[in-house]
């Protein structure tokens, strides 16, 4: 058993590095093209915008990395973002409560949604796709009920400060950095973190090795939900309202970023470093297309092609590397 576990770990390292090579190349190429086409792209103000704009997708992507590593998926992210944003906004009117209350409410609401996902998946043996699809509609419905279908506005300055800057660095970016660092450390250095890979790589073997597979999966969904709650709070601060229809299709952007970053949809392979690169690539593309004033119709086409192209290139590189190794 010990031997099997080590082998999986070794393979993981190989894949992580080759995966990151492809994505680094794609990111570098995109940035070079954009820098050549529009002089503003490399300006400090614009780069600050890019890291600000990717932070919400980044927080979500880090969360869903945990879930994808276990071989699951979470489709409820966008709705949970809306629900937690509305919940936080309700508690963030000026003079109501100290800032910690709305922030904690968002985080806890997110963790609760994630926890329910985790329970339904592990205890109810419902496929993650269906379990989280259910949560996607339930959370959206709750957001609409809680807000009466209307944006919740009149937010305290303390709350909107979350989307502001701290010494010229956007606070959302700092939050993403802290989240990513924490996740990276957890995946590398904690037992739970290593178990996530083991469960996703080979659930049977992990169970035979005495790992509490259900517990590990539950933890992944709950962490993912809590981070979606955090993203919901940041989004609400950024747009100074809790929007019941915010966050539509955010889960797809987050999952795309994670997969671009080299995490396998079937679990066991990947990591936070790649996820951040995937998030950056998607952010840079969106920013660049706006700067170049590419028509909205073509933006959709170009984004789709780059997403699929990046993953295609990456996988080709990986298989080539493996064959070479043999």
């Amino acid at each position: 058993m010990r031997c099997l576990f080590d082998k999986a770990t070794g393979k993981r390292w190989l894949n992580v590095w080759s995966g990151q090579f492809g994505i680094v190349l794609a990111l570098f190429a995109t940035c070079t093209v954009l820098a050549l086409l529009c002089p503003q792209f490399l300006g400090m103000a614009n780069l600050t915008n890019v890291v600000r704009q990717v932070s919400i997708n980044g927080i979500l992507a880090v969360g869903v990395t945990f879930v994808l590593l276990t071989g699951g998926v979470d489709l409820s992210l966008g709705s949970v973002v809306a629900l937690t944003g509305v919940a936080a906004a309700h508690l963030a009117h000026p003079g109501d409560f100290p800032l910690a209350i709305p922030v904690m409410a968002g985080l806890l609401a997110g963790a609760a949604c994630g926890g329910v996902n985790g329970l339904v998946v592990t205890r109810g043996s419902v496929p993650p796709f269906i379990a989280t699809l259910g949560m996607m509609t339930v959370a959206r419905g709750l957001a609409l009920v809680l807000s009466n279908g209307r944006p919740v506005s009149n937010m305290s300055p303390a709350m909107t400060r979350i989307a502001g800057d701290c010494a010229h660095v956007p606070i959302p970016t700092l939050i993403l950095a802290a989240v990513a660092l924490g996740a990276w450390w957890m995946l590398r250095n904690t037992r739970q973190g290593r178990y996530l890979y083991a469960v996703g790589g080979n659930g049977q073997a992990a169970r035979a090795a005495g790992i509490n597979v259900r517990g590990v999966k539950f933890l992944a969904y709950m962490l993912c939900g809590a981070l979606a709650g955090l993203a919901g709070v940041v989004l609400a601060a950024r747009i100074t309202t809790g929007q019941p229809n915010a966050g539509t299709a955010y889960e797809l952007d987050a999952i795309a970023a994670v997969v671009i970053g080299g995490t396998s949809l079937s679990g066991g392979v990947g990591g936070v470093g790649g996820t951040l690169l995937g998030v950056l690539l998607m952010g840079v593309i969106g920013n660049g297309l706006d700067l170049l004033n590419v028509s909205s119709y073509y933006q959709l086409i170009i984004k789709g092609i780059i997403i699929v192209g990046a993953v295609w290139f990456d996988r080709r590189h990986q298989t080539a590397g493996k064959e070479h190794g043999r």
């Binding site: 103000a45 609409l144 279908g149 944006p151 506005s153 950024r238 539509t248 706006d290 700067l291 004033n293």
Partner: protein
């Protein structure tokens, strides 16, 4: 076990209480299928309908099509099977919601379209001309800039009737104003968060050339405004939106948003129920009721505040 019995009893009693008065109910019934109850403006129309229906003694069956024309057609089929007295349709789509209108007409049930149109003409229409809203907003913007300067336009979800018509109306005005230069026109999909991001990027690419932003709805106008304020450009860029949602009215009153265009959702909702009732009673009715848009600026905002 005991718990289960209690629950079952509660359910039974609950149902009984609901059904009994309905069986004897002689009020006329109107089936309503709405585009999307997650949209603030549609919620306003819906609330006005409920209010007017209560006043007139009409029973409403309210359905949410959740943006799906296919679901909307199904809802109309259900209304026909339920033998409602009239139908009010808030169409999802010009072409794809047309079969819903056809089916109602074929079944001999009068149908009123509210807020937007379908290709097939219904019995009556109550709504506003979307081109007009953009024309009013863009005209105001031109006046504020004295006819010269760089303008950005944020469009709605591409391909929707409102986006197409508001773009057409805005471009009509731009054609007559050669001094106004349209720097860029992009979709932010009616969404506030997307509008913040788009505006941040635009401020990078067009910098000091930007003098005004016309957003095709208030959600996007509020997003653009946030990005402009955070960039410290509030005093030299004029932002105008459409719809007069609560947040936007507040922003107009506070002098942050230059103007919005009021679309009378309440008037549309009430008008639709009134027209439907005329049809049920076979009274004379107006085939097409157009509720006018109104410009809202700091001077007159008070009368639009809830």
């Amino acid at each position: 076990m005991r718990k289960r019995i209690v629950v079952a009893l509660a359910v039974l009693c609950g149902c009984g209480r609901q059904e009994r008065p309905e069986a004897r109910d002689a009020r006329p019934v109107i089936g309503v299928s709405l585009l999307n109850m997650a949209n603030e403006f549609i919620v306003t129309i819906q609330e006005a309908m409920k209010e007017r229906a209560d006043e007139l003694g009409v029973r409403l069956i309210l359905n949410d099509a959740q943006r799906s024309p296919e679901r909307q057609v199904q809802q109309i089929e259900t209304f026909i099977a339920q033998k409602v007295d009239a139908i009010v349709l808030n169409p999802c789509e010009v072409e794809a919601s047309s079969p819903a209108v056809q089916k109602a007409l074929a079944a001999g049930i009068p149908i009123v379209n509210v807020n937007s149109e379908t290709r097939v003409s219904p019995t009556a229409f109550v709504g506003s001309r979307d081109e007009e809203s953009a024309r009013i907003g863009m005209d105001y913007l031109a006046r504020r800039l004295n006819g010269t300067g760089g303008v950005l336009m944020m469009e709605g979800y591409m391909g929707q009737a409102a986006q197409i018509k508001r773009s057409a109306g805005a471009r009509d005005v731009l054609k007559k104003q050669p001094g106004l230069q349209l720097l860029a026109s992009q979709s932010a999909e009616w969404d506030r968060a997307k509008a913040v991001t788009l505006m941040e990027n635009w401020l990078q690419s067009y910098g000091k050339n930007v003098r005004a932003v016309f957003a095709q709805n208030d959600e996007m106008a509020m997003g653009a405004l946030l990005a402009i304020e955070r960039a410290g450009r509030k005093d030299d860029i004029v932002v105008v939106g459409v719809d007069a949602i609560r947040d936007a009215l507040q922003a107009v009153r506070d002098g942050r948003l230059a103007a919005t265009v009021f679309q009378d959702g309440r008037g549309q909702g009430r008008g639709a129920i009134e027209t439907a009732l005329h049809l049920i009673r076979k009274e004379p009715f107006t085939g097409e009721t157009f509720i006018p848009f109104q410009l809202v600026t700091q001077e007159n905002v008070a009368k639009f505040m809830p």
